[in-house]
């Protein structure tokens, strides 16, 4: 269902300048259609992470327009932006960011903590999400009892438990061996199959080339944006 129902992210002339004059994004224009699966590639320092933060509403641009899921960020307060993240956007980080000493189930259930859903339902949905990433047998395990791939799958379960329309993955395979990395990528592809828009940030050309669209960045600018013909 690629590219079916209008853009989910629109960036118009987006510039992000940090104090000290570092320009992380410079006049970026980008449209991401609902249901797309794309990679943002580029060397470190090229502005990929800033791009992901801006798309994920964690950061606001210095200038330019960002529209996510129909909402212009400039019109939303911090509270509303937070709520937008809680209901529409899922994040997956290279370093997993799982709470130590807390079971996989509760880590995933925390993905719903800020949606106002009751604890019982949060845990039920968390269990379903862990089943979906093939970790149904690891519910009570704590992060230190899980392998790297399992940790990342737990983190993905936490991101998808609230059924976001947009899933942003920042170097999801960066801390994993190639076998676990493949498993994680396959999982992201499966999620995209069910309709979630997935954006993967990576510096690995191999990972990027397996995805249907690749946006290449260099020094804060989009230098290449190519869509593969579906094989």
């Amino acid at each position: 269902m690629n590219g079916s129902s209008g853009p989910i992210v629109t960036l118009r002339a987006v510039t992000r300048e940090y104090s000290g004059g570092v320009v992380a994004l410079s006049d970026v224009n980008l449209d991401i259609e609902n249901g797309e699966l794309l990679a943002i590639v580029g060397p470190s320092g090229s502005g990929k992470s800033t791009m992901l933060n801006v798309m994920g509403t964690l950061d606001r641009p210095s200038s330019g327009q960002v529209v996510v899921d129909g909402f212009d960020l400039a019109d939303l307060s911090d509270r509303e932006v937070s709520a937008l993240r809680a209901f529409r956007i899922g994040f997956v980080f290279q370093q997993f960011h799982l709470a130590p000493g807390t079971s996989a189930l509760d880590n995933v259930a925390d993905g719903l903590l800020y949606t106002g859903i009751g604890r019982k339902e949060r845990r039920e949905r968390a269990e379903a999400a862990l089943q979906r990433v093939d970790l149904g047998h690891r519910l009570t395990h704590r992060p230190h009892e899980l392998s790297g791939g399992e940790k990342q799958r737990t983190a993905i379960a936490r991101a998808v438990v609230r059924e976001p329309t947009l899933l942003l993955a920042d170097e999801p395979t960066g801390a994993l061996d190639s076998h676990s990395g493949e498993g994680v990528m396959r999982l992201l592809l499966d999620l995209n199959e069910t309709g979630t828009t997935v954006v993967v940030i990576t510096h690995e050309r191999m990972v990027a080339s397996s995805l249907p669209r690749q946006v290449t960045m260099l020094d804060g600018e989009v230098v290449d944006d190519r869509k593969m013909a579906v094989a």
């Binding site: 992470s49 964690l58 909402f71 809680a86 209901f87 980080f93 960011h97 106002g116």
Partner: protein, 400 residues
């Protein structure tokens, strides 16, 4: 365009749970910073508890002794000479309506008391001899440790009842008819020994003989040195008001009236200043404990930037982050405060039990302890919580 998204609310249970997770992750640090609060609260609860228990003990004793005992004694006249009470004063006071009993004692200043006739005269031991009437025992609420009290017969004869300290000084453990002491230059048989008399401590170091016996054997002139009056408990002040004029209508200013139970209460009140000092120390400990909690929370915010970033990415608003850290600080100090209340109550219970006092920890002290704990937790947690909420999500995630 659709309506703006609205953030969900965190339930109090979720806030508690978040705080619990965070505290469990760093048990030693949590225990140490809670300890500061615990010591402060425990000190304050123990100080309040111990002083309340001692007051409860005093009240219990006063209840047992009765606060309705009055004494009247001759003061001094206008020329500073010792005054006397007229003989009729006993009968006149007895006619005041609410007076239940009245009794007189007389000093025998020349009658020294010795264990036997071979003790050198200067070693009189400070024991006072008094001429008393049979109703003294019930009027002052005294009890006998051994032997019997003076009765209508023995009051006429050389028989003596010793105060508790007198018996100690003379080395007498119990009274029996073979025991005699050398009193005022002749032998007196010890027929009884009193328990301590808290309301009239002078009797403890006294040797009590019958009023008529004093007149017969020791040239007692019959002058009244003190009157003891038991009144209706509801009319103590009224009786006290008329006592001087009744005892000596001609010279009421020469009569000194007092209420022994007040002296006991006043002695207990001296402790208040000390209690205040200890409470102050407790408050300082509490303040230091609060600073400890604030410090722990500030460090916690610095260490947990990535957690804050993650939570923001999961959709937490600044308010959610603020309440999480505030809740954590409150939980931390309540943990300390709860421990402190238990500790303080325990210290009070142990101390009171050792002193054979009733254990009393007033409810207001416990409520106050909890309130103080909450205020300290709130104040100590506010600044770190605000700092946590200000952390930019991107910066926090990058820090990991």
């Amino acid at each position: 365009m659709t309506t703006s998204p609205r953030p969900g609310k965190l339930s109090p249970i979720d806030i508690l749970r978040l705080g619990g997770y965070a505290l469990r992750a760093r048990p030693l640090r949590v225990a140490l910073s809670a300890l500061g609060i615990a010591i402060g609260i425990a000190a304050m609860i123990a100080v309040v508890g111990i002083s309340t228990s001692s007051r409860a003990e005093l009240n219990r004793r006063l209840d047992a002794l009765g606060t309705n005992l009055l004494t009247a004694g001759p003061g001094s006249n206008l020329f500073g000479e010792a005054a006397t009470l007229p003989d009729e004063s006993v009968a006149m006071i007895g006619r005041i309506g609410p007076v239940q009993t009245v009794t007189a004692i007389g000093n025998l200043p020349d009658a020294k008391v010795y264990r036997n006739d071979r003790i050198p005269a200067p070693q009189s031991g400070g024991i006072g001899a008094y001429a008393v009437r049979t109703n003294l025992l019930t009027t002052v609420g005294a009890t006998l440790a051994s032997g019997t009290w003076l009765n209508e017969a023995t009051i006429e004869y050389p028989a003596v009842v010793l105060g508790s300290r007198t018996a100690q000084r003379l080395g007498l453990g119990a009274a029996n008819e073979d025991t005699q002491i050398w009193l005022g230059g002749r032998w007196f048989t010890v027929i009884g020994i009193l328990d301590p008399v808290p309301l009239v401590p002078r009797l403890d170091l006294g040797a009590l003989i019958g009023w008529p016996a004093g007149q017969r054997y020791l040239n007692f002139d019959g002058a009244i040195s003190s009157l003891y009056i038991r009144t209706d408990p509801d009319a103590v002040e009224a009786v006290r008001g008329v006592l001087a004029r009744t005892a000596n209508p001609g010279r009421p200013n020469e009569v000194e009236v007092s209420r022994p139970s007040e002296a006991l209460a006043a002695a207990a009140a001296v402790d208040t200043a000390f209690t205040g000092l200890l409470l102050g120390l407790g408050a300082v400990a509490l303040l230091v404990g609060g600073i400890g909690v604030a410090n722990t929370m500030v460090i916690s915010v610095l260490e947990r930037r990535s957690e804050i970033g993650l939570r923001r990415s999961l959709g937490a608003t600044r308010g959610h982050i603020r309440i999480q850290f505030l809740g954590e600080a409150l939980l931390l100090s309540v943990l300390g405060g709860g421990t402190g209340i238990v500790l303080g109550t325990g210290v009070t219970a142990v101390y009171a039990t050792l002193q054979a006092w009733p254990t009393v920890v007033p409810a207001w002290a416990i409520v106050g302890g909890i309130t103080a704990t909450l205020i300290i937790g709130g104040v100590a947690g506010l600044y770190p919580a605000i700092r946590a909420a200000r952390v930019a999500p991107t910066e926090a995630l990058a820090a990991a």
